[in-house]
């Protein structure tokens, strides 16, 4: 079983880690380039300083960033776009669908400031990106479970021929989950904690919250649950979902995204079609436009924090 850190025991930042990885990779592969609608300085400041010829800032113009990347990819280059997910997935929605996915252009999109973790209010909360992008053919969706996994996702995206969307959280000071190394494979979820009473399937930043809830359930209530890091939303690991449904008959999904159409929606579809008897509870951002507050305060108010997970698991039993 994978060794994990305690909740917020170690904090890491995906942005500078990716910045460094890009610098390393750009030396090896001259086709690599970073395209951004004017936010790369906030994400990869060292890369853009050191690799000006492999960096393209198209200005605050997400549609152009996506199409420009598609054009580059069709000509054999390896473009990564770094942008804010709320604008990438909605302002440039059709550009991703038609000029990246339809053309099967080898474009990689790294979206940050997702869910409520990034702050900023509802103009800036990317709560719908997974629901929207999950419906695009050819697109692979990865939601890294911790900052280190964002690096694994980066290299997996390079190895994968075709469009990939990597959904960072805020990309700064987030819980490291994995203490020991492990194999990361697109489309293969990871059982990071084993139990028998229920299964919590989480993605992204919520993996660390799921693990902490599982620890509290075990230590305070004597309830053991599986915790799954479902880092790939598309293609979803249907086999693992079914395996967990058969084993525990109770699944709770946890995501920093609308409960409609994201991880919860994907798991619900798989379960419904599987015919396996299983109770499902989706936790995430409810069907509302949230206001301001710290991530934990908002989670508390909206019902998808650690306490909510503990309470919902107990309610399912």
């Amino acid at each position: 079983m994978t060794e994990t850190y305690g909740f917020k025991e170690v904090l890491r930042s995906a942005r500078p880690m990716l910045d460094e990885a890009m610098q390393e990779y750009a030396v090896k592969n001259k086709e690599f380039c970073l395209i951004s609608p004017d936010v790369s300085r906030a994400g990869m400041p060292e890369f853009i300083k050191k690799f000006p010829k492999q960096h393209f800032n198209v200005g605050i113009a997400e549609q152009c960033a996506v199409d420009f990347a598609a054009g580059m990819a069709l000509e054999g280059r390896l473009p990564f776009i770094y942008g804010m997910s709320v604008f990438m997935s909605m302002r440039a929605c059709e550009n991703i669908r038609t000029n990246v996915c339809y053309q099967n252009a080898n474009v990689k999109i790294i979206g940050n400031n997702t869910g409520l973790a990034g702050g900023g209010g509802s103009t800036h909360y990317a709560m719908e990106d997974l629901a929207i992008l999950r419906s695009f053919p050819n697109l692979t969706l990865i939601v890294p479970g911790d900052p280190d996994q964002a690096l694994k996702a980066f290299y997996a995206a390079i190895a994968h021929k075709g469009p990939v969307y990597i959904r960072l959280s805020n990309g700064r000071n987030e819980s490291a989950v994995y203490k020991s190394d492990y194999e990361f494979k697109i489309g293969k979820g990871i059982v990071i904690r084993k139990g028998d009473a229920a299964t919590v399937i989480a993605c992204g930043i919520m993996v660390s919250y799921a693990l902490e809830a599982a620890r509290i359930l075990a230590e305070n209530e004597g309830i053991s649950v599986n915790v799954v890091d479902m880092h790939t939303l598309k293609p979803l690991d249907n086999d693992l979902v079914c395996e967990m449904a058969r084993a525990t008959g109770k699944i709770l999904t946890l995501e920093d995204h609308s409960i409609n159409g994201g991880l919860g929606g994907a798991v619900a579809e798989t379960l419904a079609e599987s015919g396996i008897p299983c109770t499902l509870k989706r936790l995430g951002i409810p069907d509302t436009f949230p206001g301001f507050g710290s991530f934990e305060a908002l989670q508390g108010q909206l019902g998808y924090g650690i306490e909510a997970v503990v309470a919902q698991v107990k309610a399912m039993l």
């Binding site: 010829k53 393209f56 198209v58 200005g59 113009a61 549609q63 152009c64 996506v66 199409d67 420009f68 990347a69 598609a70 054009g71 580059m72 990819a73 069709l74 000509e75 054999g76 280059r77 473009p79 059709e94 550009n95 038609t98 000029n99 339809y102 053309q103």
Partner: protein
């Protein structure tokens, strides 16, 4: 480049293309108005200007062409087939049918030699900027051509791409605007329903582009203009405003927003073909 085709031959080819556009619009719904306005320019591009290798569609030295106004697919298919990318008969035999490579908007998955699947408007400058940038980085000498409709210039993304192309000095990017002065609803300068594109040349200039204009139905002017575009290594992107007439060549189709798309009946087809043939005969004499 050893172009041996004459103006007369290009004119004849364009005339035959017009006939085929009309025949196609008898059998299926196509964007007949815009197809007829772009026919001369696309003929010149495919039969005269664009460098290609029919035995190797991925030849790196080929000029790229992207039909930003993807609804002009009928005209594109005919131009490509005439240039050797397929058979004109296949267009007529299969258009719109299951598993056909020919439908209302171009799809590159089934059409070797077609660079991009298009149809969603406003992506010519953005996507082609990426293609032109990649070529510039590699030091390639080919052009990236994109044919845009004038109506699609209302899409904001066009101007995002225009700024980007100018910023990155993409002199290898040549946009041709089919300025037929109509979109689906109305004339572009219609006081009530047109959003108003003029002063169009000044707008492109203000965005940092080299602006050229031509008569998009005068083959001599088209060829002369295409011959005088800047070298691909230049540092300013070029837009050619091709002044055209929507529905060109058929009296009852010309300048009619209602013929943006449509189908001809037998009688209309006969009348339209006779007009095209009469014009060709007159020109030939």
């Amino acid at each position: 480049m050893g172009h041996t085709i004459t103006i007369k031959e290009l004119e004849d080819a364009a005339s035959i293309m017009r006939e085929n556009i009309l025949k196609l619009s008898k059998q299926t719904l196509i964007h007949i108005g815009g197809d007829l306005s772009m026919a001369d320019m696309l003929t010149a591009l495919y039969l005269y200007k664009i460098r290609k290798d029919l035995s190797n569609h991925r030849w790196p030295g080929r000029d790229r062409f992207v039909l930003s106004k993807g609804h002009g697919a009928g005209c594109l298919y005919l131009a490509m087939a005439t240039a050797g990318y397929g058979r004109i008969e296949e267009i007529f035999e299969t258009y719109g049918q299951l598993n056909s490579r020919y439908g209302m908007h171009p799809c590159n998955k089934h059409n070797p030699g077609m660079e991009v699947s298009s149809g969603s408007l406003g992506h010519g400058t953005t996507l082609c900027s990426g293609m032109a940038m990649a070529a510039k980085i590699r030091g390639d000498r080919h052009y990236v051509f994109s044919l845009m409709g004038d109506g699609e210039l209302c899409e904001g993304s066009v101007w995002e791409g225009a700024m980007t192309a100018a910023h990155y000095k993409l002199g290898n990017l040549i946009v041709i605007v089919d300025r037929n002065k109509f979109s689906l609803n109305a004339g572009t300068e219609d006081e009530e329903q047109g959003i108003g594109l003029e002063p169009l040349a000044a707008k492109w200039k203000a965005f940092g582009w080299n602006v050229m204009e031509m008569d998009g139905h005068d083959m001599e002017d088209i060829v002369k203009t295409l011959d005088s575009i800047p070298d691909p290594a230049s540092d300013v992107p070029t837009v050619i405003i091709g002044n055209t007439i929507k529905g060109k060549g058929v009296s009852f189709l010309e300048n009619q927003a209602s013929w943006h798309h449509g189908m001809l009946n037998d009688e209309q087809l006969e009348k339209a073909l006779s007009e095209i043939r009469a014009a060709r005969k007159e020109k030939g004499e």
